[in-house]
């Protein structure tokens, strides 16, 4: 990874963390755990479209770990980690089939996968399927939030300089 590339990634990671910290200050509208706007996801979606998969993965991993430190809530790391991992994997695949024009669609699906991952982690921690009732509620709120962050991501993606572009599309030709 070139220095330039690393700097671009760091800049986006910093932006994601700022969004994350801002979001922590917003009061939650619904008293249901897991319901949030996911502003930091804007950067993830952009990274999926503009960076290579492993670069996007590094960005998300650093954001999730540092974000947990900023929030002072390491116990939530497992949930946000599982959510973010599933969301990233899903969006990396979807990013290949969904064109840049339909970024919000990718973001909505990513948000839903994020919530599904969180619920899966919660089921594992609590050792009980009772937390599954949150799934429909989180799917609805996640869908709405994902649409919003997706529209934001589209606006950001359009304005991001062309230098923030993956150099070679390594997949489609060789495999």
């Amino acid at each position: 990874m070139s220095v330039k590339r690393m700097t671009q990634l760091s800049l986006l990671t910093a932006a994601a963390l700022i969004l994350y910290v801002i979001e922590l200050q917003l009061p939650s509208l619904v008293p249901i755990p897991g319901v949030k706007l996911g502003l930091a996801n804007i950067i993830t979606v952009v990274a999926v479209y503009r960076f290579r998969p492993y670069e996007a993965a590094i960005l998300v991993a650093v954001r999730v770990i540092l974000g947990a430190f900023f929030a002072g809530n390491l116990s939530a790391l497992l949930f946000s980690g599982c959510g973010a991992a599933l969301c990233l994997c899903g969006m990396l695949l979807l990013g290949r089939v969904i064109s840049v024009k339909y970024i919000p669609l990718c973001s909505v699906l990513g948000a839903m996968l994020h919530n599904a991952g969180q619920i899966a982690a919660a089921v594992w921690v609590v050792q009980s399927t009772s937390v599954l009732v949150y799934l429909p509620i989180l799917m609805v709120t996640g869908g709405i939030a994902g649409l919003f962050t997706g529209l934001c991501a589209q606006a950001v993606e359009r304005r991001l300089p062309a230098s923030y572009q993956r150099k070679s599309c390594r997949s489609s030709k060789k495999s």
Binding site: P33, S75, L94, S99, L105, L109, G143, S172
Partner: protein, 123 residues
């Protein structure tokens, strides 16, 4: 790996995805409305790791506040007021259970994940 998809036209994929998102959204919305129905039950139980710690009849329970302490030094303070139960305070870092407010739906228990504590309506 995604050769399979490249044969399909972009439009078809998008239509399929938009359609599935819409279906998931609508199904979840209907389920959510059912889940958020207030409960008719009066019995509330406080459970930790499948062990029932306390049971209360909400119609008869007097207003009170008590603290459940755990071996690891963590604790939850439960408050019962006017026939409603809520977590008034918690030692856990995220305080999700406190922000969830009063228990109102059978299918939506108050859960304190760090302490594995569940407050729910009993059958």
């Amino acid at each position: 790996m995604l050769r399979l998809f490249t044969g399909m036209r972009d439009k078809t994929i998008n239509t399929v995805l938009i359609f599935s998102v819409a279906v998931i959204f609508l199904v979840s919305l209907i389920l959510s409305i059912f889940i958020l129905q207030p409960s008719q039950s009066h019995m509330v139980e406080i459970v930790q790791d499948d062990t029932v710690l306390y049971t209360f009849d909400m119609d008869q329970a007097e207003d009170q506040e008590f603290t459940i302490c755990y071996d690891n030094g963590s604790s939850n303070t439960i408050r019962i007021q006017n026939g409603k139960i809520c977590v008034a305070g918690a030692e856990c870092p995220d305080k999700t259970c406190v922000s969830m407010g009063e228990l109102y739906s059978k299918s939506l228990p108050i859960v304190c994940l760090p302490n594995h504590l569940i407050i729910r309506f009993a059958d």
